[in-house]
């Protein structure tokens, strides 16, 4: 996986911060989608599910960014 800083106007941040923000937005989007499609009924423990979903999305985002 390739890594370098994200330059935001001279301020360089760890790519992990960007990955976490993107993952958070994606998780919120996915969660809304689940609720709208009615699949949300199949969730047993919402908080646990949300955490798991976030970690999975984060892992995916980090892996995807590494391929850029």
């Amino acid at each position: 996986m390739s890594w370098h800083e994200w330059a935001l106007g001279g301020v360089l941040v760890s790519p992990f911060l960007v990955a976490a923000l993107v993952a958070l937005l994606l998780t919120v989007g996915l969660r809304l989608l689940l609720r709208l499609t009615g699949l949300g009924r199949w969730i047993w423990h919402e908080a646990l599910f949300d955490l798991a979903l976030f970690v999975i999305v984060l892992g995916g985002v980090v892996a995807a960014m590494g391929r850029l």
Binding site: H4, S14, L53
Partner: protein, 289 residues
């Protein structure tokens, strides 16, 4: 039935999350990459060999110079005078040698009419005069060298950096006045956490992202430093170890310098020594296309 399915779905998600989390952990804590790397180069600090006023400064700041090029000329008058003096002394000593040798040979020829002691003294005086001549000749060589050294040459090709010297300044022998960044000497010093060192071997391929350029550069692990400073090993005024009595519950992995050489010296890229870079060690044999 429905409840157990709901539980199963959620637990499956958690299991997946554990896998993803492990991957993240591995990537951030174990994979050998660092954002803490600096581009470095050989810096040649130039000090004049003789003291004096700078008569002529032939370089500008950030100018590229070739090896052997004259960078500045120090006022040669004093060294010229010293050379003239040394040559005059050689002349005097040469005449003195002539005189003494003449004396000695005449006294040898006189035979028994003068004492043995006088003959011997004359020969010793001639020998002393010859040694003094050699001494004077050595001083001429020294004066010549000093005169030559009033012209300061570039020891290596490179770029003059941070030139603060002005024409007319007085410079002292042995005191650095100019720095050269030697051509083609760029390398990367990457500071890896101790915990990541087991994944790094000398010769491993490396990818380098200088902060200034978009495109990555290729490199190779050149060597791994064998030592960093230990703050507890600093001796006090009595040479006893000054050991810090506090120790933290939480401690950070220290960083070890790893030297990385560029596979090809980056010519087209505008690199400066001191720039920051990110570095990743690629596994040998697993290099990505």
């Amino acid at each position: 039935m429905k409840t157990s399915l709901r539980i199963a779905v959620t637990l499956a998600m958690v299991a997946l999350a554990v896998v993803a989390g492990y991957g993240l952990w591995h990537h951030y804590m174990v994979a050998p990459w660092t954002r803490d790397a600096r581009i470095r180069a050989d810096i040649v600090t130039l000090a004049p060999d003789v003291s004096g006023r700078v008569m002529e400064l032939r370089v500008r700041d950030n100018q590229h110079v070739e090896q052997g090029e004259v960078l500045m000329v120090i006022d040669p008058e004093r060294y010229q005078a010293a050379l003239d003096e040394a040559r005059a002394i050689v002349e005097v000593r040469t005449q003195e040698v002539r005189l003494r040798e003449h004396e000695a040979s005449r006294r040898t020829r006189l035979g028994q009419s003068i004492s043995e002691e006088q003959r011997e003294n004359a020969q010793i005086a001639a020998a002393i005069a010859r040694s003094q001549l050699r001494q004077a000749q050595a001083e001429v060589r020294l004066a010549e060298l000093n005169l030559q050294r009033t012209q300061v040459h570039a020891p290596r090709a490179g770029q003059v950096t941070n030139l603060r010297l002005a024409q007319g300044n007085h410079v002292a022998a042995g005191q650095a006045v100019m720095a050269l960044v030697a051509d083609g000497s760029f390398y990367v010093q990457a500071y890896f956490e101790e915990t990541k060192l087991p994944g790094i071997r000398v010769g491993d391929p490396v990818r380098i992202w200088p902060m200034s350029t978009g495109a990555p550069l290729d490199g190779v692990v050149d060597s791994i430093s064998q030592g960093i400073t230990d703050p507890n090993a600093r001796p006090d005024s009595q040479l006893l170890a000054d050991v810090d009595p506090t120790f933290d519950w939480v401690r950070l992995a220290q960083r070890i310098p790893v030297r990385i050489r560029f596979s090809a010296q980056p010519d087209g890229q505008r690199l400066s020594a001191g720039m920051t870079a990110s570095v990743q060690v690629l596994d040998a044999g697993q290099e990505r296309p």
